[in-house]
């Protein structure tokens, strides 16, 4: 009888753990981090090495190429790979910057489709802003005023999303018209700053709002920082083994 109770309880625990959670609960990535923008920053570091490390830059870009192709068409990816293959540092960075502008546009366009979904819109806007932050130093260097305006527009766009609040606390209404206005302002400034003829961002897939798993594909083994977790884990386990063996001895 007792065993039956334990069995039933075990089964219940297994079953409740088996209930699938919703998609958005799974996204482990930092909302303030956009993969394409992170890859751009890392590529910049590799290209700034002397001599520029084009093969590392290529490996980095290839980790996002599939996503880029899917959301923005195959053309941007091909152009970037071509400039890497030609070992043209300036062209590679410029093309990556244009790609980031397209990415900001993609994120902002997606928000309108899910405007009522506060959580999703907020995350998409954060991704757009994270992408802009990678571009911000360049904009600031050329035109500090524009950089300030774009950042203010992002803040205003976030305000326009409103907030459902909690039991009436902190409730704020949303305003899609204000959002659209700010979106246009941001995109127009970026288009002018990076000299893009069009912000036609290719096809959007239906799975637009589904974020990736945030899992990384590429790592830099020459960087000591990446070895630290492994060394720590092995050291802790080693220490426990030593303690355990010592204890076992009479």
């Amino acid at each position: 009888m007792k065993k039956v109770i334990f069995f039933c309880f075990s089964l219940i625990l297994i079953l409740i753990n088996g209930i699938p959670q919703t998609a958005s609960a799974y996204s482990y990535g930092d909302p303030n981090e956009e993969k394409v923008a992170e890859v751009y920053k890392e590529m910049q570091l590799k290209l700034d090495e002397n001599p520029p490390n084009f093969s590392a830059a290529k490996s980095l870009f290839e980790t996002v190429k599939e996503e880029v192709d899917m959301h923005m068409g195959t053309e941007p990816g091909e152009v970037i790979l071509e400039s890497i293959n030609e070992e043209d540092k300036e062209a590679t960075i410029q093309n990556m910057e244009k790609l980031l502008v397209l990415n900001v546009a993609r994120r902002l366009e997606s928000i309108e489709k899910s405007f009522e979904e506060y959580d999703t819109s907020k995350k998409l806007l954060a991704k757009g802003y994270a992408t802009y932050q990678a571009l911000s130093p360049k904009v600031e260097a050329n035109n500090p005023e524009a950089d300030k305006e774009i950042k203010a527009d992002f803040d205003a766009a976030l305000e326009a999303l409103g907030n459902p609040g909690l039991f009436g606390v902190g409730k704020k209404p949303s305003d899609i018209e204000v959002f659209k206005e700010k979106k246009e302002a941001i995109l127009n400034s970026l288009q002018a700053e990076f000299d893009l003829p069009s912000l036609e961002v290719g096809h959007f897939t239906e799975t637009e709002e589904q974020e990736g798993t945030g899992k990384k594909d590429w790592t830099d083994r020459s960087n000591i920082r990446n070895w630290i977790p492994l060394i720590l884990i092995v050291a802790v386990i080693g220490a426990i083994v030593v303690i355990g063996i010592k204890r076992r001895r009479p």
Binding site: I12, A23, N163
Partner: protein, 309 residues
């Protein structure tokens, strides 16, 4: 949404009640039911704290700079939970070994002020973790309107079912030997704890707090993806569906910390965790058993005519 809210609260409340149930069962079986109310007080405070956290994330941390705080809080909670649950495993392992038959009266020696405070903190943090998880899941299923999920019938029904199930379970276990009870619940706790540990490592790698020398030791998404999203992505990218559904993957992830493409750090930490727990609990017990045997031998010498009850 109501059904999802029901399932979420059922799962989270039941998990919290499992730990609280272990603690209160321990108190009752050791003849200290008077402390039970403090454990429940800890749990009640944790519910209030969870609501506070919900307000913090819904209303305060909404700027771009603060938005990522959610994930850092999750990582922090996971690490604290792993430490607490591991400590609980040791506590249970050492106490269950000391229990011989029905000599529960002697258990009183284990009850000290420190223990009681520890149990209250334990129940507070366990409920806080489940409460915060519930908040994040509610935010996900309602598109950010946490209050909406709480107000429906789903959340209340889920909570009631969890209470009913755990009541029946713990009422049943009162007749089970405490040692067996601790061994079985301990095994569950080790699994939950190991899963939390590797998920915390995985999250820290995802948000770049720590690096990795190998992000994917292997990739068996084609066989068993860890989540329905991975299933959908694999299908989209290759045109072929993985062999086993992502729903099975998420079940294994929740139970054993399964990952279809783990980093080398996750793999080593997971295996190492079980090895370490085994080594430490077994070495502790062998030492204690020897001490007990020694004591028994000494007692035999002194007491020539032991009283038989």
């Amino acid at each position: 949404m109501e059904v999802q809210a029901l399932l979420i609260t059922f799962r989270e409340v039941l998990e919290a009640l499992l730990i609280i149930g272990i603690i209160t069962t321990y108190l009752k079986r050791t003849g200290n039911p008077k402390y039970t109310k403090y454990v429940w007080l800890g749990a009640a405070l944790a519910i209030l704290a969870s609501i506070g956290v919900a307000i913090l994330f819904q209303v305060v941390f909404t700027g771009f700079a603060a938005m990522g705080s959610e994930i850092y809080l999750k990582i922090g909670i996971m690490i604290v939970s792993t430490v607490l649950l591991t400590q609980m495993v040791f506590w249970m392992a050492s106490h269950s070994k000391d229990l011989k038959g029905n000599m529960e009266g002697k258990m009183n020696k284990f009850i000290s002020t420190g223990n009681i405070v520890g149990m209250v903190i334990h129940s507070f943090l366990v409920v806080l973790r489940e409460g915060i998880e519930t908040v994040f899941f509610f935010a996900a299923i309602t598109g950010g309107n946490i209050g909406a999920a709480m107000q429906g019938w789903g959340a209340i029904t889920g909570t009631l079912i969890a209470f009913a199930v755990s009541y029946m379970f713990f009422k049943g276990t009162m007749k089970v030997k405490l040692k067996t009870f601790f061994q079985i619940t301990g095994a569950f706790i080790i699994l939950i704890s190991a899963g939390l540990l590797v998920q915390a490592i995985s999250m820290m790698q995802d948000v770049n707090i720590i690096g990795s020398v190998m992000y994917h030791v292997y990739d068996i998404t084609w066989l068993l993806p860890e989540h329905p999203i991975d299933y959908a992505h694999y299908l989209r990218d290759t045109g072929v569906a993985p062999l086993i559904s992502g729903d099975v993957g998420i079940f294994l992830k929740a139970l054993f910390g399964y990952s279809s493409m783990p980093s080398i750090e996750e793999v080593i930490a997971y295996i190492g965790y079980f090895a370490a727990i085994f080594l430490l609990t077994s070495s502790r017990s062998s030492k204690k058993e020897k001490a007990v045997e020694k004591k028994a031998a000494e007692n035999k010498k002194v007491v020539l005519n032991p009283q038989v009850k």
